[in-house]
Every structure is written in structure tokens, then in C-alpha cells.
Assembly symmetry: C2
Homo-oligomer: 236 residues x 2
């Protein structure tokens, strides 16, 4: 009480960011989503983290929906668009891998990526490339469009569905949540569910992230390759 030195804004709040600005808000919201789930992201909560009244937020962001959109767009800003040369199938693999790598940085916000791929500049660029590669290989417009969409969705799916991710549960309880799921599977009657019991661990823990994402991308690429091989040649 007596010693009110210069303790004003000690270092803001637990894990809060620099000055209030649109970019800082979005960045903080992404980290918040990673730590405590997307449900924790709110106008009032973020304002509190910045030690500012809720209304101050509305200067930097039109409303909550726009904030969520901005978060989705931000995910694609660290998307590294690969060069568009070499084998078309390698281009496809590189494209999916690039999206996975971008989304992995903020797994808690990954579902926001869904609607924003075709509005963000880099997302557009990557999709354009992928469509070109697929059409160049001989796929029809319809096929190329569906395959490109599925490529991006595969990336989203791999990140959001990673074993042991538990995106919606806040950080502290996350490990317990995963453990509970594992226990539930392991406790199943072995006669009826021998495979689930045997795979209980593999289903709830991914162990090696690199291998997990690699295998996921491989499956998609292998599928595209196989479908390509089945195509009847255009002209003999």
C-alpha cells in the first residue's frame, strides 16, 4: 500500500502482449487459442489480457467475427509457397506440406483456416499453383478442383485431428484428457475389441509428429498418384 513505486503495468498480465494494436491482438488471440482452446478467445478476455477496457477492442477490430477471420488469415501469412517447378506430384506434396507446416504453428485456431484459404493472398497463390499442376497432369476441372480442396482439407484435418491434440480442452487438463481417452480404450473388453485395445496407445498418442504428418501427407499423395494412374490416356 505504502510503496506505490512505479509498479504501474508491471509487465501487463500473464502472457499478455506489447501495446494494443490489431496485429498484437490477433497474435495474442492465436496463442490464447493454442493454450486454452478457441472458446477462450473473446473480446472481454483479450481486453483484460491487454489491461484495457473491452470497448477499446472495437477500435482495432470491427467485432468478434472479424477477429476470428483475421486469425484465420494470419495462419496463412506464415505459409511458405513452394516453387512451382519439377514433377507435378512433387508440387502437390510440397503444397500440402506447406499448408500443414503453416497450420501447425497454431493448432488451436486451425478450424478458422477452413473458410479463409480462398481469401488470403498466399492461400490463393498456392491453390492456383496446385490447380495448375493437377490440370497440367491431365485431370479435368472438376477433378482438379475436388483434389485441390481435399488437399487443403487434409492439411486442416491432420493438424486438428492429431492424436493427443485435444484442442478444445485448456492446457492444464489436456494431458489428463488424453490419458482418459487412452484408458477408456484400453479398458474395453478384449474379446470384443481386440484391435482397439491393441491400438489404444497408437490411437491416442502420435509420439512422433514428423512421422505422423509425413504419413498423412503420403496417404493423400499416394491417392492422387493412384487415381492418376487409373485415368484413361487422353490420346493414344
Amino acid at each position: 500500500m505504502a510503496s506505490t513505486i512505479s509498479t504501474k503495468r508491471p509487465s501487463r498480465r500473464a502472457g499478455a502482449a506489447s501495446e494494443l494494436s490489431r496485429e498484437a491482438v490477433v497474435e495474442h488471440a492465436l496463442e490464447l487459442a493454442d493454450r486454452e482452446g478457441l472458446d477462450a478467445v473473446g473480446i472481454r478476455r483479450i481486453a483484460a489480457d491487454f489491461q484495457v477496457t473491452p470497448m477499446a477492442m472495437y477500435w482495432h477490430v470491427r467485432n468478434k467475427d472479424e477477429l476470428l477471420q483475421a486469425m484465420g488469415d494470419a495462419l496463412f501469412e506464415n505459409l511458405e509457397v513452394p516453387p512451382s517447378d519439377g514433377d507435378w506430384l512433387d508440387q502437390i506434396r510440397a503444397a500440402v506440406t506447406a499448408v500443414v507446416d503453416a497450420l501447425r504453428r497454431h493448432p488451436g485456431a486451425v478450424e478458422l483456416a477452413f473458410g479463409r484459404i480462398l481469401t488470403s493472398p498466399r492461400g490463393l497463390q498456392l491453390t492456383e499453383q496446385s490447380l495448375g499442376a493437377l490440370r497440367g497432369a491431365g485431370f479435368t476441372v472438376r477433378e482438379a478442383a475436388d483434389l485441390a480442396r481435399q488437399a487443403l482439407q487434409t492439411a486442416v484435418m491432420l493438424v486438428s485431428g492429431r492424436p493427443g491434440a485435444e484442442l478444445s480442452t485448456p492446457e492444464p487438463e489436456r494431458a489428463a484428457m488424453t490419458e482418459a481417452k487412452h484408458a477408456a480404450l484400453a479398458a474395453l473388453p478384449v474379446e470384443e475389441f481386440p484391435n482397439l485395445v491393441a491400438c489404444a496407445n497408437a490411437l491416442t498418442d502420435c509420439e512422433d509428429e514428423r512421422a505422423y504428418y509425413g504419413a498423412g501427407v503420403d496417404l493423400y499423395v499416394a491417392g492422387v498418384k493412384e487415381l492418376f494412374a487409373r485415368r484413361r490416356p487422353e490420346r493414344p
Copy 2:
């Protein structure tokens, strides 16, 4: 005012369901999610639809979270588990198709399926079968687990990501939303994005649902087949 005949509960409310019960609530919530998006599903809203006070809901459901879980579980109740005979790859195709068909009935609630696959009886049964088929074919525990997970996620992804679905936007504006997305792509500079412009229609409208889901499942199955072919034989 004068003629207060027996106009009590004319036919409840616009699209409301029979008597209040847990099943009726869940069923109504699923339809509501389909029509107006998952955000429209709430305790107070559903109570109003049943012409009942919000607190009445808590007799049939512990809280909102449990309601959402129940909705997820309900999705798997109309899952038709296919017979587990015949070629293992056909079993896998049948399994993915079965999940897609189940989820398609309530696209608005499809994201609730994510966490509930391995808690619902039929989801467990189908996963057990699929794991058995994959391991029987020679995949390791790790591989089988990842492939099975990806199978279910593929189903979720196909339904939730269908071109022209726009799950989060309420029914009335949905068509306009899809049209807006299409227009945005078609208006892109042709020199820079020739493929996006050419595929604008295919990317925003799926035209034939049967073909769309068929192609999506095909891609997954083709991938599994290709990965199987690459496996080094166990013993010569």
C-alpha cells in the same frame, strides 16, 4: 382477446418438436444446426422452440456441453455398420462410406462427430472392424491406427467441407454466401489466377453429391491401396 378458445399450444412453434424429452431435444437440436448453424443451438433457444422455460432443459440434459455431446453421439446412431467379410480394401471403403452416409444426415452438426467416434457403440464397432481389416492386410499397429483415424476424419472432412455447404451461415443467406464466394473467385485477375478462374464454379458448387462423396472416398481408398502396394512383403 375475446375468443380465447382452445388456442393453447396451437402446434407449438415454427418447426418445434413433440413433447419435451431428451431424445426430442437432441433431435430438434440437430435439425436446428442444419438449418441455422451450430451457433444457433442454445439452451434458451431450444427451450423457446419447445415453449418451455430454459430451466426445464436442465431436467433432460446436464448442461449445454452434454447436449452437444449427445448430438455427436446421435450422429453415430444412424451409422449402418457394414458386414465384415470380403476383401479387406472393400471393407475399408464400406466403412468410410458408412460414416459419410451417417454424417450426411446432419451436416450442420458434423464437427461434433470428431470427439465422439470412439465413445459411441457403433463408432467403436466400425473402428474395431477397420483396424482388424488393416492389420490383417499387414499394416502395423501404428499404421493401422493412423489410417483408421484418417478414414473417419476423411468422412468428417468430406461432409463439412462440401462445396456450397456453408454450414455456419443460416439457411436463408446460404445460397447468397455461396454465390458471393463464387463471384470473388471469378473476379480474380485472369492472367495471375487462370486456374482459379477456370475452376471457380467447381470449387464453390458440388453439383452432384453422389459423385462428390464417391470421388472423395475413392481418393482415400486409392491412397490406402497404393501404400499397401509399397509395403515390403513380410516374408518371401
